[in-house]
Symmetry: C2
Subunit: 318 residues, 2 copies
Amino acid sequence: MDEFALIRRWFAPLAPHGDGVVLGIGDDCALLAPPPDEQLAITTDTLIAGRHFPLDTAPADIGWKSLAVSLSDLAAMGARPYGFTLALSLPQADENWLAGFAEGLRACAQTAGIALVGGDTTRGELSITITAFGTLPAGAALRRDAAQVGDCICVTGTLGDAALALRLLQSDGWPQTDAARALRARLDRPTPRNAAGLALRSIAHAAIDLSDGLFGDLGHVCDASGVGAELSIADLPASPAFTAGVPTDARLALQLAGGDDYELCICVPPARLDAARQACGALPLTVIGRIVQGEGVRLRNGGGAIVDFSTPSYRHFS
Amino acid sequence: MDEFALIRRWFAPLAPHGDGVVLGIGDDCALLAPPPDEQLAITTDTLIAGRHFPLDTAPADIGWKSLAVSLSDLAAMGARPYGFTLALSLPQADENWLAGFAEGLRACAQTAGIALVGGDTTRGELSITITAFGTLPAGAALRRDAAQVGDCICVTGTLGDAALALRLLQSDGWPQTDAARALRARLDRPTPRNAAGLALRSIAHAAIDLSDGLFGDLGHVCDASGVGAELSIADLPASPAFTAGVPTDARLALQLAGGDDYELCICVPPARLDAARQACGALPLTVIGRIVQGEGVRLRNGGGAIVDFSTPSYRHFS
């Protein structure tokens, strides 16, 4: 099957017209007509087998996660998902793999109401690059450079689940338990927080999505905003599966630097905390610290003492 | 050097603010404010070492070509270049390589006035995915589905240069001549025809850029427009270097199916041919055939007889 037939067969169902998509896959470019007077938020992420997902990951989960990580970036800006392009490199045109991948991609796209508008398929090491577009009113974006001293630092959901799953996978003997499966699902099928991001747009001062680990990602907020952060490590939210399965000495590293959480970290003025909680609906929002004067991220234990933490976030080429 | 430092150091100079770029590299998303009431044209292309460019290609030429192929797609729609994202996979963080790559990318971006607005850097097989955005008034795009019976089929520039360069490279003994260097430059540094594409927007009925070879690419125009095409093979434009160096029996295959030309193929009503030539300025525009009723691309020799041609365009996974 040639490149063109591949694209048509597996990805055409993801590319509806209408809703601002003037021309989808099939010409030199796609044509979009974004809502008038809105700005565009754009993000690009590459996922490579064995680096951004375990080699044994199911094709449907790879499809889901490839889009979910970009949707998470749109969520962190408070942008409404609009469209995406897919650049897919494959060692060979495996129909079973493509069927699974397209199904996972479609499922994730459907939950967010985002359309595939273009792409490229080529032979190479398995690699997926998605560029996603969202729309939002001018000046409405949740940026990482607008945290203010006194803001409550909050995170959605729980931290460390995906990192613990990866650690268990890399150790001998993956436990065949419901808890382990729950952790693996968090690694393979992260839930981008787009509804929360949209609802928080007029409430939070700043936001970032947690892809590389809270410690490093919050550090970017501090750097960009010219502020410091103090975190209370006793308040970091954890799932029951995480709490049950994590070795005590690994807990902090996994929650702060494990990466792959795809939760939102937001900075909210204390007076808007209730509004922020309401904006998140059923999704838990936990206060984990405060924005302070100074620079960098400091940690305090339950007793208020400073805790040393020097494990860096996951970084390529480091 | 870590991922973040890499991006800042080499690519920050390509990411100017202003001109509709509200927020460039450094947040979860870039923010763009496209011209009000204009549509967006979007295209994605992946280049992989040894597949889309020879393994010995200079890093600066890889940088140039990576963006040029996307600019060529924008040219074919008649869209004004606006911004692009870069997803770069590298086996290792080689500073010399990055310096060259960024310089070539910058040079190409500068000629087109297009800004880098976001990206991702990861470790892997050398692979470059660029998603480029252009803007154009609603309804103004040059599409491939609007060719009309009677249109003159025209191409800009010359055909086959890059394909001959690749053939010479793959044979024993690359000739150290000015002609060979000229051919290699056409392979390594294609010139996207953006000025011509913009100027032809109100003149041509349809357009496509020639990336996979005229025969296949024009076939896409025929399929999308529900028409056929007749080409006069004696009229295919060739450079002096191509004419001097091409083996007679390879000429047609290289000009029709070699790929990597990055010229525009446009369908123009005969009454607008002079206007089309003027729109192209110093860039030669050659009439090579006519749009006819029916389907598919037929070839005729200088005497008017049908010529059989069955070499397909370059296709991945074929």
